[in-house]
């Protein structure tokens, strides 16, 4: 693992190597910074526009898309809450996300530990199958999952929304990799002292795995909060609509004729807030984890 040398993205690497031929940013710094700032503006500006537009009136948004609102108004927000079930959608998203996250943490760590530290027969086969399963593209499974959910009687219910999302091979890999990095001596010690496999796992190894568990929590939260096609397929009851499904319906002009951009943008902005908050708090971990998880 030579990448260990450069642990921690975001740290300026120390300039400790002898032989001062290291290229300095000196003369070329300004163009680079300019370019970076320009690109950053392109990446951030849409979101700023989104927020600004959500406080505009409709005619203002159509006539003056780029500027600040003429009159700041929360009309879009109040109309959003008045005429749609936004709070219900938020509650549903929250419920699903909580259960999926808890479930994934539990099941993925169990499976990851088994693959990492329990030498049982068939381990390699299961491992290979996990990799194979990860190769199946998600959208191809849209219709098939609907069929299965129906057969199992889980259609149009919370369990139909939650249980299929618990299947997560990437999370198993993350946990497995982390467990493998825990020194075997810790577990050997526990084993010698007579602890069973589960006890070792639950009381000793898992508490040490806080970073990996946090990673799973963050990835699961993000994944299930932003999930759309699974919810389209697994529910039809308006009471079970989540934020993604609800805002998608809004986007197709549900509330009335005409384009109501401030309202739609307000809806989109609000639903992004939780994910954005989690992102900003756990930036480093997310960005490290994404690189690691996706690489698998």
């Amino acid at each position: 693992m030579s990448s260990r040398r450069w642990v921690g993205l975001g740290d300026d690497t120390p300039d400790g190597v002898a032989g001062g031929r290291r290229p300095r940013l000196g003369a070329t710094a300004w163009p680079t910074y300019l370019l970076l700032v320009g690109l950053a503006v392109v990446y951030i500006l849409p979101f700023l526009i989104q927020i600004a537009t959500s406080f505009k009136t409709e005619p203002d948004a159509a006539a003056n898309p780029l500027g600040l609102p003429e009159n700041w108004t929360t009309a879009a927000y109040s109309r959003l809450f008045e005429f749609s079930d936004y709070l219900l959608w938020g509650t549903n998203s929250l419920v699903v996300t909580l259960f999926v996250t808890a479930g994934r943490v539990f099941f993925d760590s169990l499976a990851g530990y088994a693959l990492a530290r329990i030498p049982f027969q068939g381990r390699t086969v299961v491992f290979a199958l996990l990799i194979a399963v990860m190769a199946v593209p998600g959208v191809v499974l849209l219709i098939p999952k609907f069929l299965v959910i129906n057969q199992l009687g889980m259609y149009d219910s919370y369990s139909g929304m939650i249980v299929p999302l618990l299947a997560d091979a990437a999370g198993v890999f993350i946990m497995k990799n982390f467990f493998e990095s825990i020194p075997v001596s810790v577990e050997e010690q526990a084993r010698i002292d007579g602890a069973g496999v589960f006890r070792t796992f639950w009381s000793i190894v898992l508490p040490m795995s806080a970073p990996a568990v946090m990673t799973i929590v963050i990835l699961s939260f993000q994944g299930s909060w932003n999930e759309l096609n699974h919810f389209i397929v697994s529910t039809q009851d308006p009471e079970l609509t989540t934020l993604t499904k609800g805002v998608a319906q809004l986007a197709s002009g549900q509330l009335s004729q005409g384009t109501q951009y401030p309202l739609k943008l307000a809806a989109a902005a609000l639903m992004t807030i939780p994910v954005a908050v989690v992102f900003f708090i756990f930036q480093r971990r997310i960005m490290n984890a994404s690189a690691g998880a996706v690489k698998e």
């Binding site: 898309p65 399963v133 219709i143 805002v247 992004t272």
Partner: protein, 368 residues
């Protein structure tokens, strides 16, 4: 700490059996979930795709008959509306893939290189800024994009500053290539191309390029996924030991040569990963189409994934929907294998196609 050897079930075969059991118990939930929601569905869909199930009752009931490859032939060679729709969807998605994958990879690499430069201040801020769009949900971004690219939206406003009259992006079905050919004077279909059909669509239509609406989606895809791949490249760049650069610098090469002949070959595994992930992702574009244009305008944002969904859930033609899903699966596998084959490692020494001994030396250093 005393280490007392315990007897009984903790020794020898006992440990084995205990571990066997616990191993399977631990892995059981995940295996069960994946089996039930990934493996079994594929089998069920395979059955539905060769049956005439109309959507009512169970697909395994005795009323449902086996129709062999009827659904598949109807889609691939039938020539009717189903074939035309599939051809259109394939064409649209093909342009999407051909534009998004290279552009997002290049942009991600470019951003990674910019952000990974040593001595760069506020690297964290830039990384965050570029990665943030990837965190948002596709629904939220699509809604935002619908606004930005509307007829009186931000993009057209900016274009008007350089006196370009922007199209009504999401309502404009004109193909980009057709528009460009129009500038060159080719405004209607040449006779030869009009009469030949592939998958129900004339060759002239195949050359239409992505429509304006699809182009807006392409830009959206690049916007949202370049951040994720940028992170992969950053990780890879950081794992390249600085001695390699040292060696190349000491051989007095310039930055571009260094990048092209030293850094890039070392990034090959990551490049592979990014391209593969890009291919798999772009062939499955669905959420954005569902939220945004639902296949319009004039079916130019129709994709196989959305077509499969539409056939099953809107038209109640479940056999066709399942068949399209499997065909899509085959397409994804094909492209992934193709990509891996095209970019495979040939003879290592030949990798640096340069005669410059300095760079060859640096490259050889990099191999170690």
């Amino acid at each position: 700490m005393t280490s007392t050897r315990k007897t009984g079930p903790r020794t020898g075969a006992g440990i084995q059996a205990g571990q066997q059991l616990s191993g399977w118990l631990f892995i059981a939930p995940v295996v069960l979930l994946l089996g039930l929601f990934l493996f079994v569905p594929v089998l069920m869909a395979a059955w539905v795709s060769v049956s005439d199930w109309t959507g009512r009752g169970s697909p395994f009931s005795s009323d449902v008959g086996f129709v062999g490859a009827d659904n598949y032939t109807r889609i691939l060679v039938g020539g009717g509306l189903d074939t035309q729709d599939f051809g259109t969807a394939l064409r649209n998605n093909l342009y999407y893939v051909l534009l998004v994958v290279p552009l997002q990879t290049a942009l991600a690499l470019f951003l990674a290189v910019l952000v990974s430069q040593r001595m760069l201040r506020s690297r964290g801020f830039f990384r965050t800024a570029f990665y943030f769009p990837s965190v948002t949900s596709s629904v939220a971004i699509t809604v935002l994009w619908l606004f930005l690219f509307s007829a009186t939206g931000v993009v057209n406003k900016v274009l008007s500053w350089v006196s370009i009259d922007g199209p009504n992006w999401f309502a404009d079905p004109r193909g980009v290539l057709h528009v460009m050919l129009g500038w060159l004077g080719v405004s209607s279909e040449p006779a030869g191309l009009a009469s030949t059909d592939f998958l129900g669509i004339s060759l002239w239509e195949w050359l239409a390029g992505p429509s304006m609406a699809m182009s807006a989606f392409i830009l959206m895809a690049i916007f949202t996924t370049s951040g994720t791949f940028m992170l992969l490249f950053i990780a890879a760049l950081q794992s390249i030991a600085p001695e390699i650069h040292e060696a190349a610098v000491m051989d007095r090469t310039n930055a571009w040569q260094r990048f092209w002949h030293v850094t890039l070959p070392m990034l090959k595994p990551t490049l592979f990963t990014v391209l593969t992930l890009g291919l798999i992702g772009t062939w499955q574009v669905f959420d954005q189409i569902y939220t945004g244009t639902r296949g319009g305008p004039a079916k130019t944002t129709l994709t196989p994934a959305y077509l499969s969904f539409n056939a099953a859930f809107n038209q109640q033609d479940w056999g066709e929907g399942a068949a399209i899903a499997f065909i899509l699966f085959a397409i994804i596998v094909f492209f992934t294998v193709l990509q891996r084959w095209v970019l495979r490692d040939r003879d290592k020494v030949k990798r640096t196609k340069t005669r410059d001994p300095r760079l060859q030396h640096a490259a050889v250093e990099a191999e170690r």
